[in-house]
Amino acid sequence: MTSSTASTFAQLLVAVPVLAAVVSLILARSAPGASRAVSAVTAVLGFLVSVGLLVNVPAEGFAAATTVGPLQVGELKVPLELLVDRPFAVVALAVAFVVACIQLYSVWYMATDPRGAVFQAIVSMFGAAMLLVVLSGDLLLTLIGWEVMGWGSYLLIGHHTFRRSARRAAMKAFLLTRFADIGFVLGIVALAAQTGTTRLAVIFEHFGEGAAAPTAALVLMLIGIAGKSGLIPFHDWLPDAMEGPTPASALIHGATMVAAGTVVVGRLFPLYAESTDARLVLAVLAAATTVYTAVMAFTQNDVKKLLAYSTMSQVALMLGALAAAPAEEHGAAGLDHLVSHAVFKALLFLGAGWLAAIGGGTAFALLRGRMKGWGVLPVSFGLGLAALAGIPPTIGFVSKDGVVAAAREGTTTGAHIVLYATYLTVFLTAMYATRAYLVLVSGDPEEPDHHDDSHTPPPTGSSYTLVAGVIGTLGLLSLVGGAAFLVQGAHIDPTVAAVSVGIALLGVLVSWALSRRPGGDPATVLSESWARATQVNLGTDRVYAGFAAGVVALARVVVRLDNAVVDALPRGLASGATATGGAADRAHRGVPSTGLLAVLSGGLIVLVLGVALWR
């Protein structure tokens, strides 16, 4: 009985935000106020539904639920069903919770935006797509949610359509993730072709019964996952995506798009566990990304960009945990870190939005010391940074400990790579988290040299209560959420914890020591030219542009070949036909003698043919 209740809750959890998005989008122009109210209320409702789902989900095994009914496409069976088990119900809860926080926060943050209602409707749609990916039991549904998120990210990042940089960032995110999706789609097609269905349960069964692991398909899907999760070499769209309004950044980075890759790998973990090669690829990508982006995060001089790089680093950690964990662990460490990251990263982004409202921008230069005196903000933001750094007893400490433990337990080459990368990242993360806190609470800010209308004024009155409530709740969760994991069955290995906390504290210490230098910013330890290069993402953008230019040049060559060689035949035929027609037309100018000549010659032809062929 519980499982059928769970099915109903799963259906509702997808249906509610879909309906919310449709209704609020319809209302967005005629009644923006009502539209915003619908978005906010349904988001809270969605959160309550996700709680109901978690309560009712069976402790062991899966609960399935139908959606719009099965499809039969020729030989291919497409059941279009949802599939939910306990770990994914937790992820769904985190997603619904973060979406609810962001919707409530947006009521304040987007209040002055004329297209705020549309923004919130898209956030609902985005949430629905992410929940579909989390709850999907069918590769096709996963793909639908995945692609809708890609489209939604384009709309959200490019929300400020009046800014050229925003439009460019949206296009860049869209093109990069779409490009990577080629692999994702091919991987899904390969899996469906091998098994004759898109139903996950059947696919697991198929490959669980001794069939060779579908390594090619899994690696192809990794390409798409690398695109969405910002793994090297697709990492550069995420820092640019900071052009979107801060709630959009919180959404994309907190619990949805970027984490979707983790969700899919976690969902397909039974398959990935079988394929050492696919997991090695994932381990190498994740290890490289997590260290590289942690370094980049330390050097950024914009709080949102710092958070963006930190997201990539943390998501790579989740994927690293999934790549390293032994098969019997079921990838729980990666999913736990996803949930914990969703909480503290949403907190940090929403806090950054508040900071931007105070300082008139997100550059550290504007925000120096701005956090002082805003009550709940410095405390919560500090807790968020502590969670990011993995300082006990925060939620980040517990989940990061799980990642380290998973990597230590793994016996593959990939697991070793991930383990060392994780240690390095823990150190670097503590450094940049400390740096961010120190810069925000000390020193004197610059005044913004021009007033930017696109920034929201700081919250006052009831909106202050709302924003402070959201931020405070997230801060509290960052502090005590770890306990929830422990209740759920996570356990802390004292040795592991001691090592990772020690490394983190070392990072804090180094960062603090560097901040004693003149200037107060630990990042000033870097040389001038290095610091400048990191601000433009080390020119990755130019590499992409070069790649695109190469493709275009190749296309030009192909077009020229096509025109000159392939098309020459039909064009020659056409002009030949026209020329012959013209010549024949000139020969027919109504002169009776030529006509007679033709008749006589024709008679001759027919005679010869007739006599020659009649045998």
Binding site: G590, P592, A598, G602, I605, L609, G610, V611, W614, R615
Partner: protein, 509 residues
């Protein structure tokens, strides 16, 4: 010797010929009547269609015969109509009817002194066309074929303009050669078979010995050359564009419809008699057919005058009509008849629309329609103003869905692409005997011509959809009721037969 005569069976031939006489007599009694000759002609055509209509109801392989000689062992009939030839007769009568509808006098111009002559000639030619489909002896076959041809020469010459006369002279000179060839062929036939009858029996008998077989071969080849002229098969086609361009439009319509029916009917009579001999005898048909198609399509591709385009299209289509006859089977004959029917309906419809558009331009030019909105007379110059240039049809589909739709249907049917499915079905049917005989080279050449044909008709079709250059073409077309009726009949036939092509093929059993 007693000959049995069944006048009801002969009605298809007799009614038009008697009608022609009545028209002349009526002209003597009530001279310079504008409409009376037409009414008489319609009545006689209506009577004439009764006989083939009856014959169509018979089963496959049956014939309705008359003029039978009581010879041994079986009676020999000089006039017999199978379901295929009955359909040809119906199409001939329908073509004559539609051509007369197009010629129906409008209020403005009154060449009343020639009306009855014109109608009389049309009826006579129709009678000849119907007769040749049923003739089964060389004498009446040649006479019927000439009755179907000679009036057309006069009809082309009748307006007396320079273009008309030049067309008529072309027609006359080639026609003379054709008659000569046919007469020679008839003589050889008689020598080879010792009989004037065109039947499988006589052919088999003469093919048995070497010398007569050679004579028969020559005879058949000469027949083919002579009929090639009537059917506008290349290289006997040279008269076609000149005659079409010079003749009045209703006569060109008649020429492209009824005259082709007569030619195919004549060819089928000969081919059917040869069917006992096997395939090789008609190899020349394949050469003429593919030559006509290719030349017709290539030159049609370069025409800007729609009448000349239709003339060259007729040459190309003649190749298609003759194509199935490379196989001597009765299925091939039926395919040719179906193709001809589809071609006649589509071509006559295209001509009907051309008549309507040309009349409209004439109205605008004469200033009679000065108050019609959108008539930018000042801009009309040169060929465009005659309504005979492709450019004159720019945006016709937007201006008049009736005329534009009819023309679009006709052109797509001629090209053999949807929505003109009738043309497609006919083309497939015409190719089937070729494939059955295994003539792959021919099939490939024909396939190339399918593409060329689409290009030819699409050139015109594309213009129909174009945006009308502002004020360049006259406002909303409203065709004369008789022309509108012709367009309506043609469109309805094409539409119905495109939806249910089986209806036409089932008629042949």
């Amino acid at each position: 010797m007693s000959v049995s005569v069944d006048f009801v069976v002969l009605l298809g031939v007799l009614a038009p010929l008697v009608g022609a006489l009545v028209v002349l007599v009526a002209d003597v009694i009530w001279p310079r009547q504008q409409r009376l000759p037409y009414v008489l002609a319609f009545v006689s055509l209506l009577v004439a269609v009764w006989a083939p209509y009856q014959a169509l109801a018979q089963g496959r392989g049956d014939t309705t015969s008359t003029l039978c000689l009581p010879s041994q062992p079986t009676a020999v009939c000089l006039y017999s109509v199978s379901s295929a030839s009955a359909l040809l007769q119906v199409v001939a009568i329908l073509g004559a009817f539609l051509a007369l509808l197009l010629a129906w006098p409008s209020e403005e111009h009154t060449p009343a002194d020639r009306t009855s002559v014109m109608v009389m000639l049309v009826l006579a030619a129709t009678g000849g066309a119907v007769g040749v489909a049923g003739a089964h002896d060389i004498a009446s076959w040649i006479i019927a074929l000439e009755i179907a041809t000679v009036p057309i020469i006069v009809l082309v010459a009748l307006p007396g303009t320079k273009a008309a006369l030049s067309g008529a002279v072309q027609l006359l000179t080639t026609s003379l050669i054709s008659v000569g060839l046919l007469a020679l062929a008839a003589a050889m036939w008689f020598v080879a078979t010792g009989s004037l009858l065109i039947s499988a029996d006589t052919v088999l008998r003469s093919a048995a010995s070497g010398p007569t077989r050679a004579l028969l071969t020559l005879s058949v080849v000469l027949f083919l050359a002579g009929i090639g002229f009537k059917l506008s098969l290349a290289p006997f086609h040279a008269w076609t564009p000149t005659a079409y361009a010079g003749a009045p439009l209703p006569i060109a319509t008649f020429l492209s419809g009824v005259s082709k029916v007569a030619a195919l009917a004549a060819l089928i009579v000969i081919i059917q008699a040869l069917s006992s001999l096997g395939a090789a005898g008609v190899a020349a048909v394949a050469v003429l057919s593919v030559l006509s198609m290719t030349l017709g399509n290539l030159v049609a591709l370069r025409q800007n005058d729609v009448v000349r385009l239709l003339a060259w299209s007729t040459i190309a289509q003649a190749g298609w009509i003759a194509l199935p006859l490379v196989s001597p089977s009765s299925a091939a004959t039926r395919a040719a008849v179906v193709y001809l029917s589809a071609y006649v309906v589509a071509t006559v419809l295209a001509f009907s629309v051309v008549v309507a558009v040309v009349a409209r331009y004439g109205q605008v030019r004469s200033g009679a329609a000065a108050q019609i909105p959108g008539a930018g007379i000042a801009d009309l110059s040169g060929g465009l103003a005659s309504g005979r240039m492709i450019g004159s049809y720019s945006g016709l589909l937007r201006r008049s869905a009736f005329l534009g739709g009819g023309l679009a249907l006709a052109l797509t049917s001629l090209a053999g692409i949807p929505p003109g499915l009738l043309g497609l079905v006919a083309k497939v049917g015409a190719l089937r005997p070729v494939l059955a005989e295994g003539w792959w080279v021919l099939a490939v050449l024909v396939a190339v011509n399918v593409v060329l044909g689409v290009a030819v008709y699409f050139r015109w079709f594309r213009v129909l959809l174009a945006d009308d250059p502002a004020g360049f073409t006259p406002g909303p077309e409203r065709a004369h009721p008789s022309v509108a009726l012709a367009v309506a009949i043609g469109s309805a036939l094409l539409l119905v037969l495109s939806v249910m092509p089986a209806w036409l093929t089932n008629l042949l059993g």
